[in-house]
């Protein structure tokens, strides 16, 4: 009997399910040391409006549809919060990701240092130096406890192929959407870039110059994208 009025919920899922085909779906993995507030970031992003009660045990708990550059895409977020100690599991998580949020807390230098290993692992697994990554300095609302200077974070960003760096505050919901959107844009760019490359490769190799240009342009864009609150 209880389905009687629950029944209205499923059709909307049905409708959206049918519309899904035209949208893109991307897997994003959120990584970082324990206690940097990754899960707050994810929870804040996934529940766009204030939700009375958030239940992470259902299938859709980590899905969110956003519009990026006029295109609808669905982000499936894998947040490993709570399982940091299962180091052997990390690879499993990383494998599924197309883009990565590497989160540290600006109040803890060690949390930034832990990202190096994670990043190396990602690069190795993905076999790609330019895998879409966004570096996130969380807890920006705790400026008085800052232990990681912006300069330092920027240095890391530069070392990692100009991966964009954001400072966020999950508590104040500052820059939360932005980091996910940025990452999504990177993935989309990469998508179309690989498609282009494939096209070019099929049309014989005459790529030297335009390709390098494209790369420079991209780098320039990325440099501008380092965003601070």
């Amino acid at each position: 009997m209880s389905q009687r009025f629950d029944s209205t919920a499923s059709p909307t899922a049905l409708v959206s399910g049918l519309l899904l085909d035209s949208r893109r779906e991307y897997n994003i993995v959120v990584l970082g040391a324990g206690g940097v507030g990754k899960s707050c970031l994810t929870a804040q992003f996934v529940q766009n409006v204030w939700i009375e009660s958030y239940d992470p045990t259902i299938e859709d708990s980590y899905r969110k549809q956003i519009e990026v550059d006029g295109r609808q895409c669905i982000l499936e977020i894998l947040d490993t919060a709570g399982t940091e100690q299962f180091t052997a599991m990390r690879e499993l998580y990383m494998k599924s990701g197309q883009g990565f949020l590497l989160v540290f807390s600006i109040t803890s230098l060690s949390s930034l240092n832990e990202l190096y290993e994670l990043r190396d692992q990602i690069v190795r697994i993905k076999n790609d130096e330019r895998v879409p990554i966004v570096i996130v300095g969380n807890k920006a609302d705790m400026e008085e406890d800052r232990a990681v200077s912006r300069a330092r974070a920027f240095a890391v960003s530069q070392a990692w192929g100009n991966a964009p760096y954001y400072e966020t505050s999950a508590r104040r919901r500052a820059n939360v959407d932005e980091v996910f959107v940025d990452l999504c844009k990177q993935i989309m760019r990469k998508d179309s870039a690989t498609a282009q490359v494939r096209e070019m490769e099929s049309g014989h190799r005459r790529r030297e110059r335009p390709n390098r240009h494209a790369r420079r342009r991209r780098q320039r864009v990325e440099r501008q994208r380092c965003t601070i609150l």
Partner: protein
């Protein structure tokens, strides 16, 4: 413009009161000028006639100034002009009004099928709290108070409102009994309607009471409020305003319907309303007239006629029906009814009405003719619905595919329903007996009906979606082939229906009644006397003495069979079981007074053949179940610790209950004496509920009150959540204090004092016995000791003594006094595995003497043994034993507040041990493969590990399975191409299958589904729970706001929902904390442990270490062609990494920046 043209949206959107409404929105309005739609005004909609002083609950306000509201005096709903009204918000009655709003939302938000909301009567308690606050603020709480004594009017009204309140409380109790026991839709729908009307009536009384009081005393105090009210609605009282509606639009229809109404004896017509002034109201009428010159709205004494005959709204109060309640009055020819969305809704409602009678009715009691008739009607209404859907689809230029699909599905489902209905009585046609009813077929019918409900829901939602896109449109009044849904026709149809039904079995379902547009067809209000009410205390007394010391067994009802079981519940609910049965050992041996729930569950077992079949197979063992709502678990916390003690207790306890039942009987007799009982002190207004009626938040006193409520057993999840998480929202001292306060203030209401005090004692006892954490709780010990010796022992000497003992012992013993049963704490599900008789021998280990000997020589320094030397199954078993041992010792407190992630001083030793073990196992897999130079040998090892993983899966050891698969699937191993080439295809397919099982995508959807109905023993993947717990903690606030109407100050309360979620996840984990029945092989365990320690000792750098080794064993192909690699690197960024890996051989752990430098 007439308002109803626009608000044709769904009900969800119509009731935005819960979420911070705009400041100008008032939930209650009060008419200060009568509004009677004159007779030549027609109705394109339902307008409510207003009398001076009427209070209206507002659902929404249209921009044109009309408000959609429900008149409290009659329960009628319709449109009313807001400029005839003012905000009604006076401080003393605010809490009460808020409680009423919440209550209405609750009723409206639930359907007859979703009765969970009514299994407790907190909403009634909130009303009680509201009345209490009103009386407190007006200084009329005691009958003896000077105010009450001095004023006749107040006295009269006070008495009347208390008696009204008492009948609300009584009805609430009855509803609770029904809700906990059965699916009896008919009774419930009546009750729901009745209880809400009673509440309206009671509130109306309160308003009147407050008016009189204001008249006498409260002028000065109310000035502020009246100023605020004046500000919010700028109206000129001197000049009677005109209604905002365009009068010319009203047709003759209204008049006709008005005539119908007055003919049918309805009370809401203006004449009746203004003329019928009963004797009681007469007193206030006198005051009213005398005050006439002082036309001050706030000090006005408003007069309401007696409203007892306004019961015609009882028909049905579910979400959709109530939206259209008022429409039903006279919408027979209303224009807007032709709107597509409106038609859709109406057709859907009609269809659901019939399906509801299908699903809910006790099928055994129905004759074939009835079923066939209902089926016919269902088909007719469904056709109407589908016709509307067709029309919508037709209008949609894009020809929505989803709608088409939903529609086609619906056709299919309807066909199924008809077929199922036929099948039910197929045997009957063959044989002589008319009404052979096959339960299995009946279930199928119910299923088919349920599917239809869902299908209709989908259909309608999709259609709504389309309508939203293409815009609402009006149907042509005639033609289009869907004019079948004309009101008059339906009326005749339903009338004939009800006649037939009455002939057949005298059963008129509420849903059918709801279909009748004529108020005359409504059933008379059910009598107020409640037979259950009196018998219940008797039953309670009879149960209590017998149950101490009895073997505790928990009976649970399988969730899947709920639909079937519910029939038996209903059956049991109608005929109360004879008393002796209740002494059966099936009762949970719980100190709490068993609720009606428990009674029903035990009686259904003995009476109903269906559920007996379910449980007889189970005999004396527990049935596993995942439905927390339908399981009754005996809790260690509330169990008497020793027999002698409980014997001592018994006398005191039963006498306590004797007095309780005695007072219960007098309650119904004499309202005058029962005042104190009705007006118990309560914090129920400080609770927040969700749409299912579950508590989502509350202040500590309010939550404690729920924990120790006298009238129902709090559900196990609630209790265990409390024990588990209270330290997160209160200190142990605050918790103890709140309990002691509860013990104290219950003095004011003697009839509940007994059970409540016992519950308070039980909470303390459970805490000390099974949930005590000496490290943090010891601070409250002094408080508890003082309470035990000074307060508790005065009332309950044995209990006091016992508590003192416990308090003294608890400080000396470390750990729980009463060992928790296997994972008893926080456990909301019974889940004992397949029953295995204790004398069944354990499976013999698959290990030969030679193998054992080899292990022994290895231990004494001999040659090492190898993983290939042992049987994969036995290895899997030993891993499982090892892991299970740690898993079963995980304490719930390890899982709270991310204890396991703490850098230092974490109490979560077992959780950490789990992650260490899992990581070690992964590393062992990698290590054992990578230590071999020969690719062939590596392939053999991989094969062995796949076999072990398979066996782990067969043992339901998902944790080890994931660890092994993770490792085999890691980049370190997976890149060993030469090795994998040798691995057989068979092993590879096996591995692929196992990979599919541990798929983590979509939030572990596959794994969750697998675990959901899994029967222990089982080792789930702990990481999943850890993530869930972290996300619950971070994704939910610690406090939540009480749903208010924005008028009063916003109150923040404990977000109990968050803690309930936490407890639910923990209990889900605990469900699996059952040890495996496997034989340990100590020699093998030692060897495994040694291996694990060995790989662990290489430390954090394992990953890099293995990767390097992997690269050495099978170097990257690019390295063989360095020149090629160089060029690639400069050209393509994608290949950079491969070149770099070469350097990683020498300095992998360096930072990538430095690597670039090296490069």
């Amino acid at each position: 413009m007439t308002p109803p043209l626009t608000p044709v949206r769904s009900q969800e959107e119509l009731s935005p009161r819960g979420e911070a409404p705009p400041p100008v929105f008032h939930n209650y309005l009060r008419a200060f000028y009568p509004y009677h739609p004159s007779c030549d005004e027609g109705a394109s909609t339902v307008t409510l006639p207003l009398n001076h002083g009427d209070v209206v609950l507002v659902h929404s306000v249209h921009t044109n100034g009309w408000a959609d509201g429900t008149l409290l005096t009659s329960g009628a709903r319709g449109w009313l002009p807001t400029n005839y009204c003012e905000a009604y918000d006076q401080e003393p009655i605010r809490t009460l009004l808020k409680a009423l709003t919440n209550f209405c939302d609750l009723v409206r938000g639930s359907s007859s099928g979703n009765l969970e909301a009514f299994t407790n009567i907190d909403y009634v308690h909130a009303l009680v709290a509201g009345v209490r606050i009103l009386l407190e603020k007006t200084e009329c709480l005691n009958r003896e108070s000077a105010t009450v004594q001095a004023h006749y009017g107040l006295r009269r009204n006070r008495k009347a409102l208390l008696s009204d309140l008492s009948s609300v409380v009584k009805l609430g109790r009855r509803l609770k009994d029904v809700a906990t026991g059965a699916f009896a839709i008919k009774a419930v729908e009546n009750d729901l309607g009745e209880v809400i009307l009673k509440a309206f009536k009671m509130v109306t009384r309160c308003v009147k009471f407050l008016d009189i009081w204001n008249e006498e005393f409260g002028l000065s105090q109310c000035i502020d409020a009246s100023i605020a009210a004046l500000d919010s609605l700028k109206v000129n009282a001197a000049v009677p305003p005109t209604p905002p509606a365009d009068i010319s639009l009203f047709g003759a229809v209204e008049r006709r319907s008005m005539q119908q109404m007055s003919e049918s004896g309805s009370s809401v017509t203006c004449q009746a309303a203004s003329a019928s002034i009963d004797g009681e109201a007469g007193g206030s009428l006198a005051q009213h007239t005398s005050n006439r010159p002082r036309y001050n709205r706030m000090s006005q004494s408003y007069i309401r006629p007696g409203t007892s005959q306004s019961m015609r709204q009882t028909s049905s109060q579910n979400q959709r029906d109530s939206r259209r309640l008022s429409c039903r009055l006279d919408s027979s020819l209303s224009l807007n009814f032709n709107l597509a969305s409106e038609r859709l809704g109406a057709a859907h409602d009609g269809f659901l009405g019939f399906l509801g009678s299908f699903i809910g009715l006790h099928l055994q009691s129905r004759s074939s003719s009835e079923i066939l008739l209902t089926t016919q009607q269902a088909v007719t209404t469904c056709r109407t619905l589908l016709a509307v859907v067709e029309e919508v689809w037709d209008r949609d230029l894009r020809r929505s595919g989803s709608l088409e699909e939903a529609r086609d599905n619906m056709y299919g489902r309807l066909a199924d329903l008809v077929e199922a209905a036929q099948d039910v009585f197929r045997p009957a046609r063959n044989g002589e007996e008319g009404d052979v009813f096959l339960p299995a077929e009946g279930k199928r019918l119910v299923d088919a009906a349920t599917t239809c409900v869902r299908g209709a829901g989908e259909c309608v939602a999709t259609a709504r979606f389309v309508i939203e896109r293409i815009g609402d449109f009006e149907f042509e009044p005639l033609g289009l082939g869907i004019s079948t849904f004309d009101r008059p026709e339906t009326a005749t149809e339903t009338t004939s229906t009800s006649e037939c039904v009455e002939n057949a079995g005298g059963v008129v379902t509420a849903a059918e009644v709801a279909m009748m547009p004529q108020p005359t067809c409504s059933p008379p209000p059910p009598p107020i006397s409640l037979p259950d009410e009196q018998s219940q205390p008797l039953l309670r007394t009879s149960i209590l003495p017998g149950k101490f010391g009895e073997q505790s067994l928990s009976l649970s009802v399988l969730d899947e069979d709920r639909a079937v079981a519910s029939h038996s519940f209903e059956y049991a609910g109608k005929v109360l079981p004879p008393i002796p049965q209740l002494n059966s050992p099936l009762m949970p041996s719980d100190d709490y007074i068993p609720s009606a729930q428990a009674l029903f569950s035990s009686s259904s077992n003995s009476e109903s053949p269906i559920s007996e079949r379910q449980s007889c197979g189970a005999g004396s063992l527990d049935i596993s179940s995942t439905a927390s709502s339908s399981t009754y678990v005996s809790q260690a916390s509330t169990r008497p610790t020793s027999v002698d003690c409980s014997n001592q207790q018994r006398t005191g306890y039963s006498s306590m209950v004797d007095s309780f039942s005695g007072s219960q009987t007098t309650l119904s007799d004499d309202c005058e004496n029962g005042e104190a009982k009705i007006l118990e002190k309560t914090f129920a207004h400080e609770l927040a509920f969700n749409e299912k009626g579950q508590i989502t938040g509350g202040t500590l006193p309010a939550l404690i009150e729920r924990l120790t409520t006298h009238d129902s057993t709090p559900d196990t999840l609630f209790v265990s959540t409390f024990y588990l998480t209270f330290r997160l929202f209160a200190t142990p001292i605050k918790f103890a204090e709140a309990l002691i306060d509860r013990f104290g203030y219950v003095d004011e209401s003697p009839h509940t004092a007994g059970p409540v005090r016992l519950r308070v004692y039980n909470v303390f006892k459970g805490w000390l016995e099974s949930h005590w954490r000496n490290d943090c709780d010891s601070q409250a010990l002094v408080l508890i000791l003082r309470f035990a010796t000074h307060q508790l022992s005065l009332v309950l000497p044995t209990a006091g003594k016992r508590l003192t003992e416990l308090a003294e012992r608890v400080s000396s013993v470390n750990g729980a006094l009463v060992p928790r049963l296997i994972s008893s704490i926080g456990k909301t599900n019974t889940s004992i595995a397949h029953y295995v008789a204790p004398d069944t021998p354990l499976p013999a280990p698959i290990i030969s003497k030679n193998q054992l000997a080899a292990l022994r020589t290895w231990k004494s320094g001999g040659p090492s043994v190898h993983i290939l030397d042992f049987d994969p199954l036995e290895l899997a078993r030993q891993f499982t034993i090892k892991e299970s041992r740690i898993f079963c010792s995980i304490l719930p407190e390890e899982l709270l507040a991310q204890e396991w992630t703490k850098k230092s001083g974490s109490v979560a030793v077992n959780v950490r041990a789990m992650s260490t073990l899992s990581t070690d196992l992964s590393n062992l897999v990698a290590d054992s493969i990578l230590q071999l130079e020969d690719a062939k040998k590596r392939a053999v090892i991989i094969k062995q590990w796949v076999k072990i993983a398979k066996k782990c899966f067969e043992l339901n050891n998902y944790d080890s399975l994931i660890a092994i698969i993770c490792s085999l699937n890691s980049s370190t191993i997976i890149r060993l191409k030469r090795t994998w080439d040798i691995v057989s295809a068979k092993t590879k397919t096996k591995l692929e299958k196992l990979k599919g099982i541990v798929e983590i995508s979509r939030n572990y959807a596959d794994l969750r589904r697998r675990l959901q109905y899994h029967v222990p023993p089982c080792l789930p993947f702990v990481g999943m729970y850890l993530t869930d717990l972290t996300m619950v903690d971070h994704g939910n606030q610690t406090t939540r706001q009480l749903p208010g109407d924005g008028n009063g100050p916003i109150k923040s309360v404990i977000n109990f929902d968050k803690h309930m979620k936490t407890a639910r996840i923990i209990s889900e984990l605990q469900r699996f904390q059952i040890p495996y029945r496997l034989t340990e092989v100590p020699e093998l365990q030692t060897w495994i442990q040694d291996q694990l320690v060995r790989v662990r000792s290489s430390g954090q750098s394992n990953v890099q270490l293995y990767y390097r080794r992997s690269l050495m064993l099978e170097p990257r192909e690019q390295i063989l062609r360095p020149a090629m690699a160089e060029t690639l690197e400069s050209n393509s960024s994608g290949k950079d990494a491969s070149a770099k890996d070469r350097f990683d051989l020498f300095g992998w752990s360096h930072l990538s920046r430095e690597k670039q430098g090296l490069h």
